[in-house]
Structures are given as structure tokens and as C-alpha cells.
């Protein structure tokens, strides 16, 4: 085999490797969902404080879910469906449904205590963030999991008022700050990738 032919075949191998890597790289964006849900939590807390706790949380959570679905389907319309994307959706949809049913039932049976609620939310968001960070290889998201787990423990060893403040602080760092950070990081990553692509010819 001549050197030219050998190089030609090596180029083919290189195409296979680079394209498989490119397809696996997720270009899906998640940062906006953290920001949206952070704002939704604050909205529900404010609405509850103004005097409608029975409807504030269910209505806000359903509205946030619908908004996430609509925006998500528009953003991902041109993106390929990947196993990673489906895994992410599975984790967060599963967690969201579990949390929603649990909170509704606790509220209906009069067992809704702020400290217990913050601990449950902290445990579930901590688990979801940890699983998602391991799948995506995103260390910063694991820091969010640690913050939620810390909030969970702290809420159980303090008064209701302090537990409320812990919840607000955890939302600020793990939803608002992390969401904005995620959106900036995703935008930079996508710009860098767009500039690094070359053309293939038949």
C-alpha cells in the first residue's frame, strides 16, 4: 500500500472517530431550566406569603412544567435525540412528578411542615443534581447537589424561619446563579464548536 493510500485510509478512520464524538457531544442546553425553576420557586414562595399557599405551589409548579415543555420542545426541535438527553429528561421528570405528588399529599393531609418540606426538596434536588452531574461530567453541578444536601441537613436542625431562609439561599445559588452560569458556559461551548467545524465532500 502506498503512503498516499495509507494516509487516505487513516483519514477515513479519523472521520469516523471525530463524527461519532461530535454526535455524542450534547449541544442541549439546560441552564435556562434552572433559572426558570428558580424564578418559579421564588414566585410560589412570594404568592404563598401573600396568603394563597394552597393554590400558589400547585399552580406555579404546573405553569413552570408547561413552560419548560413548550420552551424545551422549541429549543430541541432541530437537535437530534440522544440517549444522554433522554436520561436527563427521565431524571428530572421523575423527580418532578414524585415531588409534586408528595407535596400535594402532604398539603392535603395537613402534614406540611416547612422544615420537612425543605429537607425533602433538598434531598430530591440533591439526588437529581448529583446523578445529572455524573452523567454530564459537570463538576459544578455536583456542587449544587452538595448545597442541596447541606440545606436538607441544616433545615432539620433549625427553626422554621431559619429553614425558610436556608431554602431561599439554596434556590439562589443552585437555581439562579447556577442557571445563569450554565447558560453562559453553554453559549461559549456552542460558539467554540461552531468555529471548529470543517466541510466534508462526497
Amino acid at each position: 500500500m502506498s503512503n498516499v493510500e495509507e494516509q487516505e485510509l487513516k483519514d477515513r478512520l479519523s472521520i469516523i472517530e471525530s463524527m461519532i464524538a461530535e454526535g455524542r457531544r450534547t449541544t442541549e442546553s439546560w441552564g435556562w431550566t434552572f433559572l426558570l425553576w428558580g424564578v418559579a420557586y421564588y414566585f410560589a414562595i412570594a404568592w404563598s406569603a401573600l396568603g394563597s399557599p394552597a393554590i400558589a405551589w400547585p399552580v406555579t409548579m404546573i405553569a413552570a412544567s408547561v413552560l419548560t415543555g413548550v420552551i424545551g420542545s422549541r429549543i430541541s426541535a432541530k437537535q437530534p435525540e440522544t440517549t444522554t438527553g433522554r436520561a436527563m429528561a427521565a431524571i428530572w421528570i421523575g423527580m418532578g412528578i414524585s415531588l409534586f405528588i408528595l407535596m400535594i399529599c402532604l398539603g392535603m393531609t395537613g402534614r406540611l411542615d416547612l422544615r420537612i418540606s425543605v429537607a425533602i426538596i433538598g434531598a430530591m434536588l440533591g439526588a437529581s443534581n448529583a446523578i445529572s452531574s455524573i452523567i454530564l461530567g459537570w463538576k459544578m453541578q455536583f456542587a449544587c447537589a452538595v448545597v442541596w444536601w447541606t440545606a436538607m441537613v441544616a433545615a432539620l436542625f433549625t427553626t422554621e424561619n431559619i429553614a425558610g431562609i436556608i431554602f431561599l439561599v439554596a434556590i439562589f445559588f443552585c437555581q439562579i446563579v447556577f442557571g445563569i452560569y450554565g447558560m453562559i458556559a453553554e453559549s461559549r461551548r456552542n460558539k467554540a464548536r461552531a468555529g471548529a467545524q470543517g466541510a466534508f465532500h462526497a
Binding site: 487513516k10 477515513r12 478512520l13 472521520i15 463524527m19 426541535a77 440522544t82
Partner: protein
């Protein structure tokens, strides 16, 4: 000395090889996504995808999403098998030169 394998001519084209490799890593992909990843023209991309479709290596599905037409491509089982065989043949041809 064992006979050297022949490379599948349908897959051997650079763009077709890139397309099959991309499709092997996702469940399904839209035409515009494939175009952006391969930086190819609509005409060339359409022609190469048609060749892959005729060979039975990709399946196409046309649908409307939010009232906009969408063409989705998915790698078939025979496409996956053909790509695997192509990689084996490539490695066999390159032999020891593969790590050089």
C-alpha cells in the same frame, strides 16, 4: 498471506462516512443538524443521504413539527452492521500502520 478485505464503496465516500458515523451516535437526526455538522450543501447532502437510503443504511421520516416540515434520518440495523464491517476492514487494511 490472507486476502485483504474490500472497502464498501457506498460507505467509503467521505460525506457518506461522516453521515453514517454521526447517525450511529444519535437516535435520529434532522436534515439541518446533519448539514451543520458536515458543513455540506443541501444538494450534496440530499444526494448522499439518498444513496445511503437506497442502500438500506438509513431510514427517513418526514413529519411536521409546529407546522414546519422536518426530515428525520435514523440509522438502520443493516447500516450499523455495514459501518462495523467497514471499520473492521479499514483496521485490517491498515494493520500495524494504525498506531504509527
Amino acid at each position: 498471506m490472507p486476502d485483504l478485505p474490500e472497502l464498501n464503496p457506498v460507505i467509503h465516500g467521505k460525506l457518506r462516512l461522516a453521515l453514517l458515523s454521526l447517525l450511529s451516535s444519535v437516535e435520529e437526526a434532522e436534515f439541518t443538524w446533519l448539514r451543520s455538522k458536515t458543513a455540506s450543501t443541501d444538494g450534496n447532502l440530499g444526494a448522499q443521504l439518498l444513496k445511503l437510503e437506497e442502500a438500506g443504511y438509513v431510514a427517513v421520516e418526514k413529519k411536521f413539527v409546529q407546522r414546519k416540515p422536518q426530515t428525520l434520518y435514523r440509522m438502520t440495523e443493516s447500516g450499523r452492521e455495514a459501518l462495523t464491517q467497514y471499520v473492521h476492514a479499514l483496521k485490517q487494511l491498515l494493520g500495524s500502520a494504525i498506531n504509527a
